[in-house]
């Protein structure tokens, strides 16, 4: 597989690990922001291969994990309406709501469909004019363009039985929230390669300047990850803080202009609640007024009451990188992938599930 096998080369990975070993002189704490990177680190056994001075902290970049409980309950509520076909990305299905998960209500007879793209949901809306099709639009900047495009196309082609339940969040405000936290110990970031593929570098420069932290745009394969870590460590050791691009085979300074235009047409920046973290100002997207007919929260009256998180779960501290999954009293005991108390145990990108699956020996 071109552009994949080269980045899984054991000799090259080893060479980079040796270089990290050679230059590191003191402990450093680095956060990988994206859940895909967390997954890559643990799946390939990289955490055990790094020198002991390097502590990797797993950031909030798992869309499943940060989607508020209330929104999952809303999705469940919508799917229980027999006039609704609820479409979702696969890994949202197992996330527990306050009472049930989408997977459970699917088994009970709700029409819940797993899709790879919101554009497929639009096709389902066309094929089922007597049903309301709702797409659970979860994700970071990476899924925003396709979700925006589905709404844009629905409006353009006059499809009225389609709407999206929006839970879009943005990475840079979350990075700032973490850096501002009184318990913060993050000294450098691996930025999420695919997020910057869409957004470009622009919004990261002010953060680097204000907080004096190195940020390296990093990919997801083993070699990407160790190279990204090496670049951050090199900056930290030299006392530098700048933006570097490890993932230059994919990411460009200006991002993807076409995708950005589509996002801007349909979405505007808004305050958003993050599961486990709370509300972060200007940290997400909502549909522009022009597209409010396509907002499931406007279209359907939903009063789901107050929802409470599980009291034992420390997902918030895990997402902010303050605690490791195994520091949770419920980890691997009351909380397992079969019976998750919090979202990070559900998605393969969640830090708890990653630790549970790959590092329990």
């Amino acid at each position: 597989m071109k552009y994949l096998t080269e980045y899984r080369d054991a000799t090259e990975v080893q060479r980079h690990l040796e270089q990290i070993n050679k230059i590191v002189t003191r402990p450093w704490t680095i956060m990988e922001t994206c859940g895909g990177q967390t997954h890559g680190l643990v799946k390939n056994g990289i955490l055990e291969m790094l020198p002991k001075e390097i502590t990797m902290v797993h950031g909030p970049g798992c869309p499943v994990c940060v989607t508020p409980l209330e929104l999952i309950d809303k999705a469940v509520h919508l799917a229980q309406n027999k006039d609704v076909i609820l479409c979702s990305f696969g890994d949202m299905l197992r996330v527990p709501g306050s009472k049930k998960s989408l997977l459970q209500i699917k088994a009970e007879g709700a029409d819940v469909r797993i899709l790879y793209s919101p554009l497929e949901a639009l096709n389902i809306a066309k094929e089922n004019p007597n049903k309301e099709v709702v797409f659970f639009a979860v994700g970071f900047e990476t899924t925003a363009p396709a979700n925006a495009l589905s709404v844009y196309q629905a409006k353009k082609s006059g499809i009225t039985n389609y709407s999206i339940l929006v839970s879009h969040v943005l990475v840079p405000p979350a990075m700032e929230a973490i850096l501002n936290d009184k318990d913060n110990r993050i000294q450098g970031f691996l930025a999420a390669g695919h997020v910057l593929t869409i957004m470009g570098f622009e919004e990261y420069y002010p953060i680097i300047k204000k907080y004096k932290v190195p940020v390296v745009v990093t990919g997801f394969e083993p070699l990407d990850l160790v190279q990204g870590i090496l670049m951050v460590v090199r900056q930290l050791e030299k006392g530098e803080y700048k933006l570097e691009n490890q993932y230059s085979r994919v990411v460009q300074e200006e991002g993807n202009k076409k995708a950005l235009e589509t996002i801007k047409k349909v979405f505007e920046v808004s305050h958003r609640a993050w599961r486990g973290i709370g509300e972060i100002p200007y940290s997400g997207y909502k549909l522009r007024d022009k597209y409010s007919d396509y907002d499931a929260e406007t279209k359907f009256k939903m009063d789901i009451g107050k929802v409470n998180e599980n009291e034992i779960c420390i997902a918030g501290d895990v997402l902010k990188g303050i605690k490791k999954p195994y520091q949770c009293p419920a980890f691997g005991k009351q909380c397992t992938p079969e019976n998750p108390l919090g979202a990070p145990m559900v998605s393969s990108e969640g830090a708890c599930a990653a630790y549970y699956h790959y590092t329990t020996f």
Binding site: M1, L4, N44, G45, G90, D91, E338, S347, Y358
Partner: protein
């Protein structure tokens, strides 16, 4: 890859185009269907007694296994539910170290199934049974209302005579045993995935469903009790099967990612869909645990046999980390490979 595609066998003259509830009623319609589509097609002396069951005789120990097939879609790249239903049970019996001889065939058909499709399935049942050398000696046909099934469900049950040299048991697995996989992994699961509604993608991946009994027979002839365990890693894939064995033996299992054979197209499809091939279902693949003293000779022999050309040693049984499967990744890192939880669900990004 299925070796039964492009079968030609003319549809018999029937005065109906689709299966109706009456075909499961036990009366005239049932008899008309069975006469033409079952008794003529699967003709053998046991079946022709047309009794409530078949009378069989064996002079030695017998292995016995059953499996139900509810695959969707019933026609998939490289095969259909008919041959899958025969191969699945044939292989389960073979995994016990037996030579499968007789199988039963129970059909649960959804009302409205076109007779042409039923015929296509039955013709593949016949061809798969002939290829494996088993007789269909008893069976059942039921029809359920439209919407209560998914075209057709099939149950097959098989019996076979134990190979005189076979001594296959989880109890025989010991530290140092080599673990050998007989072919490329994850092929069947990805072939099915490629035609599932909502996930369709263009690919030339075909299911690897096949009968493994002849291959296993040859291995037992030569290596006998040096083969400690054989398993076919169907649902849940290689990872789940190895986990079951680690748990049951209370030994550790080490596997090497780079050694696991996989077709590039299958690997790429898994990569795109975000699935781990170790958890994807297999059909025409089995895993052997063999004594380390014969591992190289066993591999060489297997590579020379039908369906064994891509076989490889993927790991060994160890005393460390009991009950756990540990994988050495392509880059040399180590991680635990756990039992699959629920279904593998595609990731968001």
């Amino acid at each position: 890859m299925s070796n039964l595609t492009n079968l030609q066998c003319p549809l018999p003259q029937l005065d109906f185009d689709i299966i109706t509830l009456g075909h499961g009623g036990g009366g005239l319609l049932t008899n008309r269907l069975l006469d033409k589509a079952i008794f003529e097609l699967f003709d053998n002396e046991k079946l022709q007694t047309r009794h409530d069951g078949a009378v069989l005789s064996f002079g030695q120990k017998v292995a016995f296994s059953t499996d139900s097939f509810v695959i969707s879609p019933v026609f998939f790249p490289g095969g259909n539910i008919g041959e899958l239903a025969v191969n699945g049970t044939v292989n389960d019996v073979a995994m016990c170290g037996a030579s499968p001889r007789y199988i039963s065939l129970a059909l649960i058909i959804e009302e409205g199934l076109p007779v042409t499709e039923l015929w296509d399935i039955l013709v593949h049942v016949k061809a798969a049974a002939e290829k494996a050398g088993v007789w269909i000696v008893t069976g059942d046909t039921k029809v359920v209302e439209r919407g209560k099934g998914d075209k057709i469900f099939i149950n097959t049950t098989g019996v076979g005579e134990m190979h005189p040299n076979a001594d296959i048991s989880t109890n025989n697995v010991k530290q140092g045993d080599k673990i050998i996989v007989s072919g490329n992994v994850a092929t069947h699961g990805m072939a099915i995935m490629s035609v599932r509604k909502g996930l369709e993608f263009e690919t030339s991946i075909e299911s690897d469903t096949c009968n493994l009994n002849h291959t296993i027979g040859h291995l037992l002839d030569e290596f006998g009790s040096q083969i400690h365990l054989m398993r076919d890693p169907t649902r849940g894939g290689v990872a789940s099967t190895l986990n079951e064995i680690a748990r049951d033996t209370q030994l550790g299992i080490d596997i090497v990612q780079d050694a696991i054979p996989i077709d590039t197209r299958v690997d790429s499809a898994c990569e795109i869909l975000g699935l781990d091939p170790l958890y994807v279902a297999n059909e025409g693949v089995f895993i052997s645990f063999v004594d380390s003293s014969v591992a190289d000779a066993y591999l060489k022999k297997l590579q020379s046999l039908e369906f064994g050309e891509n076989s490889a040693i993927i790991g060994e049984v160890v005393a460390d980390h009991p009950n756990k499967v540990v994988l050495t990744s392509k880059i040399g890192g180590k991680r635990v490979v756990n039992m699959q939880v629920g279904e593998q669900l595609p990731r968001i990004c």
